[in-house]
């Protein structure tokens, strides 16, 4: 009889497991639950600062008595960098954790998958980090908002500076996937509009995190460009910077690095960090406005570590949700939240930020400047804050790219 018993046990075990899993639906509690989904294992170096930023903002809001009269509660899960996994987790958060809204996402594809799910399930989704332009334009939908300045916005920031440089022959190098393609396309579009006579003499498309840096550098040098627009990041950027240095690629050339000034990107390079690159980024140690200094001090005190770009995004995401709930008076009905979110303006360490009604993109900006080494630490010099509102296409162009509701 053992066989029958084992077999029955297996069948019953499975059922029971599922039944137990289903037996503890959380009752809708008083605090507002925020469902945060992020790639905490795959991209830990980027997402941990984000998580810490969220925690700081959460603590601040709750210590001040909550938002709209309600405390905030964070439900946080790892999506392992897989869109399918993220969708599953979102379903669980919606049905079982009864979250009021979803937030997070690091990779663009995760963000897009969550946006699609949010629309289908009628839940608000505030994308934090995903950069894809299509998230609010071609694939934009009523339920999705995005905080971070998009690929287009950051590329436009660099293009405007680059146009002033007078460089004519441009080469580009970008990872061979959607972000890289978008970043190059946006840069070309904005730069060509400002400086119609520029020409693009070489394009390199290394596979993401698999760059053959020596070969790529050699190929770029062969095209003899005046300037190089570089979208690589992470280990790719480290290898590219080192090979370029060794092979003299950067000598007498203007080099641009999209996001290259973000601490996540440049600090691991230490003394090897390329200098005098024109970048978008976040010179955390040098922004001394009252709002930012307060944020920075609180962050360092809480975590004994300095903030990164992700920290700022995570912090602002929660602050945005806080402001949203203040506006709705703590009401979490999705339609009401969407209405409140449109044109919502809230204070952040980098200044006031607004969620545009036209495309649900926030006007959060980035810092533009040149990379530098100070006391052996990479940072930025001659930087300024580029407000996102100034780098978005005009309304007509946006309407053309976003499906009508």
């Amino acid at each position: 009889m053992t066989r029958r018993r084992t077999a029955l046990a297996l069948a019953l075990g499975t059922t029971l497991g599922l039944a137990i899993a289903g037996a503890n639906p959380s009752a809708a509690a008083d605090p507002v639950r925020i469902g945060d989904i992020n790639s905490y294992t795959r991209m830990a170096a980027f997402t941990e600062p984000y998580r810490m930023g969220m925690e700081l903002a959460l603590a601040e809001i709750n210590e001040a008595g909550g938002a709209g009269g309600r405390m905030l509660e964070l439900v946080s899960r790892d999506d392992a960098g897989e869109p399918g996994e993220a969708v599953k987790i979102a379903e669980e958060m919606i049905t079982r954790d009864r979250v009021a809204l979803l937030s997070g996402g690091f990779f663009s594809n995760v963000g897009l998958a969550l946006a699609s799910l949010a629309e289908q399930r009628g839940v608000l989704y505030l994308a934090g980090e995903p950069l894809a332009d299509s998230l609010v334009w071609e694939d934009g939908n009523r339920h999705t908002f995005r905080l971070r300045p998009s690929t287009w916005m950051q590329a436009a920031m660099l293009a405007r500076e680059a146009a002033a440089s007078g460089a004519r022959r441009w080469a580009t190098i970008a990872p061979n996937y959607a972000y890289g393609k978008d970043a190059v396309a946006a840069f070309k579009a904005v730069l060509s509009e400002l400086q119609p006579e520029v020409e693009f003499v070489a394009e390199q498309w290394p596979a993401l995190f698999k760059i053959d840096a020596g070969a790529e550098v050699q190929a770029l040098a062969a095209a003899r460009p005046d300037a190089i627009y570089n979208v690589t990041f992470g280990t790719d950027m480290a290898k590219f910077a080192r090979e370029g240095e060794d092979r003299g690629l950067f000598e007498d050339r203007l080099v641009l690095g999209l996001l290259g000034g973000e601490p996540e990107y440049i600090e691991p390079l230490g003394e090897d960090a390329p200098i005098d690159w024109l970048v978008t980024g976040y010179p955390w140690s040098k922004i001394d406005t009252a709002a930012h200094a307060a944020f920075r001090d609180a962050y360092i005190e809480k975590f004994d570590d300095h903030p990164r770009a992700g920290s700022l995004v995570g912090y602002n995401v929660i602050k945005a949700i806080g402001a949203l709930l203040e506006k709705t008076g703590g009401d979490t009905a999705t339609d009401g939240m969407i209405e409140a979110m449109e044109d919502l303006t809230f204070e952040t360490p980098v200044g006031p930020v607004t969620f545009r009604a036209i495309d649900h993109q926030s006007t959060m900006g980035a810092y533009v400047g040149y990379t530098a080494l100070e006391e052996g630490r990479p940072t930025m010099r001659d930087w300024y804050y580029a407000d996102g509102a100034d780098y978005l296409p005009d309304d007509e162009a946006v309407r053309a790219r976003r499906p009508a509701e």
């Binding site: 053992t2 066989r3 077999a7 029955l8 297996l10 069948a11 019953l12 499975t14 059922t15 599922l18 039944a19 899993a21 289903g22 830990a44 170096a45 899960r77 790892d78 392992a80 897989e82 869109p83 399918g84 599953k88 379903e91 669980e92 049905t95 079982r96 594809n109 897009l112 998958a113 799910l117 289908q120 894809a132 694939d139 061979n176 996937y177 959607a178 070489a202 390199q204 498309w205 290394p206 596979a207 698999k210 053959d212 020596g214 070969a215 790529e216 050699q218 190929a219 062969a222 280990t235 480290a238 290898k239 080192r242 090979e243 060794d246 092979r247 003299g248 600090e267 691991p268 230490g270």
Partner: protein
């Protein structure tokens, strides 16, 4: 001209790490016949260990200032060798007697464990490698600059190759390794202690991987994605060279290194697809790789066991399970349905992989091509043709079947591990196409907004639809095993020579099975898209294929119930564990534990116990 010379040299230096890693892998495979997926983890550990040692060792003044750097490199290689021994002794030794390829599963577990152990030890931030003392800067070669360190790397390949060849030709140990690579039985017959030989080979192979990781530090650094980053490359090199051939690995590493260097020059966008295209071409033209030995014609992939029709007990158990699944929407909360849909879809995917692995004896490393292929075919039908779900699902099945027909046409001529590798190559090519053909597939931004038709949009309804189709699919595959078609397929697996001698066209039969399995995987993919609402290239990438392998092996490749039992256990385990910090460590350990406890898989274990019991007469 100078450009080409320097590009050529750059290609040579790029080959160094590839060769070191691949030579270790091919050595281990040659002797132990284990396809060690964790080899990339050894590569990563080599980089991290060397980095830590370089930081820890004091730097003396004067001419010996560079000594700690090189000492750290050597020590890291040895250290990784010891880790390899540890892994071999603890994880693999207990399961050498398990069916061939089962060890794969254990090495998956090792990957997961190492990922979290490295995260815990070294932190999440990418680490930049220090430059090599005395070898900074560059020299001028025909008007172009060439980093000095590249010249060292160029020298490493031939030196290590020469060292290995010397070792194999002049020492008794080396001769044993060569003998074992040629014929395992012979070594056993010579009275050599195989266990000791295996352990020592693991040591050397891991050392080489560790050295490869350490030596690339001055060109890059250490990061947590290095392990998966190199997995595909190291297999490409090993397979092109011929599994088990060190010289082959050397040639293949040079070939790939040069192709990449010049690919960048002439086809900058080809970087994703080029290496796999070359691998596919080589395998199609020369199935055993450049210098590999052909697999013997009559070598079944694993020790096949008889298939048995379900007995009464099993039928009762399955009925109870089905009844429970039917009642699920009544007793469970909505998320359990979401999870159950995931489990069911994966069960169907695993069952389709099992159909070719078990009765067909064809172990595929690229089955996700058909899961993803079906998913994309269905999604494309919706996005570009506006097809309703009822048309898109069949489109997924047909699309996956067509893809399987093309891929299978080339693959079924190969056997064993070469078959597995060719499927991997084709799956990667399919993935690259989907990834890069942005206008049609949306690239890695995927296809969005593919939701079920209104009549099935309700979660419970979609669950029932999935349950019905998955049950039908699994039942069909199970039934097929007992039909004359399945009989012929099993015949071809048990003895291709005998099967041909009784009129069976084995390759054609396997092709048919491959297409059938692809079609069913396509159905799973289609169901998956409508459950998730979107599809991305990840669904046809290597990790998805590995998921399928894990489920089939975990459940037991020799049992017909294995795939869905494995899918249930694996998917639930993953869902449950992923809520915890360091969940990959726990999942990896669980997999290793399951592998050691149930070397025939879970369903295999249940069956074996039941039969032992019955044979005792109770």
């Amino acid at each position: 001209m100078g450009l080409f010379v320097v590009q050529f040299l750059t290609g040579l230096s790029g080959a160094a790490s590839l060769f070191l890693v691949a030579s270790g892998l091919t050595l281990i495979f040659g002797v132990t016949r284990i396809v060690n997926f964790a080899h990339g983890s050894f590569y990563m550990l080599g980089a991290y260990l060397a980095l830590s040692l370089i930081e820890a060792l004091p730097v003396p003044r004067g001419t010996w200032g560079g000594a700690p750097f090189w000492a750290a490199m050597a020590a890291a290689a040895l250290g990784v060798g010891l880790i390899g021994v540890l892994v071999e002794t603890i994880v693999l030794k207990p399961i050498y007697k398990a069916p061939e390829l089962f060890q794969l599963l254990a090495t998956f577990g090792v990957i997961l464990v190492v990922q979290d152990a490295a995260l815990w030890t070294w932190g999440a931030e990418d680490r930049l490698g220090p430059r090599a003392p005395g070898l900074r800067g560059s020299i001028e070669v025909m008007g172009q600059r060439m980093p000095v360190y590249d010249l060292l790397l160029i020298a490493v390949c031939p030196v290590v190759l020469a060292g290995l060849l010397l070792l194999f030709r002049t020492t008794r140990w080396g001769i044993l390794v060569r003998a074992a690579t040629a014929d395992r039985q012979m070594v056993a017959a010579l009275g050599v202690d195989q266990r000791w030989l295996f352990t020592s080979v693991f040591f050397l192979g891991s050392c080489l991987a560790g050295l490869g990781g350490a030596l690339q530090l001055p060109k890059g650094g250490a990061d947590l994605a290095m392990d998966f980053g190199i997995v595909a490359d190291m297999f490409v090199v090993t397979v092109i060279g011929g599994m088990g051939s060190i010289v082959g690995a050397f040639l293949a590493a040079l070939l790939i290194g040069e192709l990449r260097a010049f690919g960048v020059l002439f086809f900058p966008e080809s970087t994703l697809i080029l290496t796999f295209l070359i691998m596919a071409v080589v395998l199609v033209l020369r199935p055993q790789g450049l210098l590999g030995r052909a697999e013997p014609a009559d070598a079944p992939g694993h020790d096949a066991e008889p298939v048995r029709p379900a007995d009464r007990t099993w039928r009762i158990a399955v009925s109870v399970l089905l009844a429970a699944l039917l009642a699920l929407p009544m007793i469970a909360d909505p998320f359990v349905l979401v999870l159950a849909i995931d489990v069911l879809v994966m069960a169907l995917f695993a069952a389709s992989l099992h159909a070719i692995m078990g009765p067909g004896g064809m172990v595929s490393f690229g089955h996700a091509a058909f899961f993803g292929g079906g998913a994309y075919a269905a999604a494309l039908a919706v996005v570009h043709l506006g097809a309703p779900m009822t048309a898109a699902l069949p489109a997924g099945v047909v699309g996956a079947a067509l893809l399987a027909a093309v891929i299978g046409f080339f693959c079924v001529r190969l056997r064993g591990v070469y078959f597995a590798m060719l499927t991997l190559a084709f799956a990667q090519i399919a993935w690259s196409i989907v990834f890069q053909w942005t206008e049609v597939t949306g690239g890695d931004d995927g296809l969005l907004g593919i939701w079920p038709a209104a009549w099935a949009a309700d979660r419970t309804r979609y669950y029932y639809l999935t349950l019905a189709l998955v049950t039908a699919g699994i039942a069909f595959l199970r039934f097929a095993v007992f039909t004359p078609f399945g009989r012929g397929l099993r015949a071809g697996r048990d003895s291709p020579v005998r099967a041909e001698a009784i009129g069976i066209d084995v390759a054609r039969r396997q092709w048919a099975a491959f297409v059938l399995a692809g079609a069913v995987a396509g159905l799973a993919g289609g169901l998956y898209v409508f459950a998730k609402g979107s599809v991305f290239p990840d669904e046809m990438a290597i990790p998805r294929s590995f998921d399928g392998l894990m489920m089939v092996l975990l459940g037991g490749v020799n049992t017909l119930s294995g795939p869905w039992v494995g899918a249930g256990v694996f998917t639930s385990l993953q869902d449950w564990l992923s809520r915890m910090p360091f969940w990959r460590l726990t999942l990896g350990c669980s997999i290793i534990a399951l592998v050691i406890l149930f070397p025939q898989g879970i369903a295999g274990f249940v069956r074996q116990r039941a039969h032992r019991h019955r044979d005792r007469g109770s």
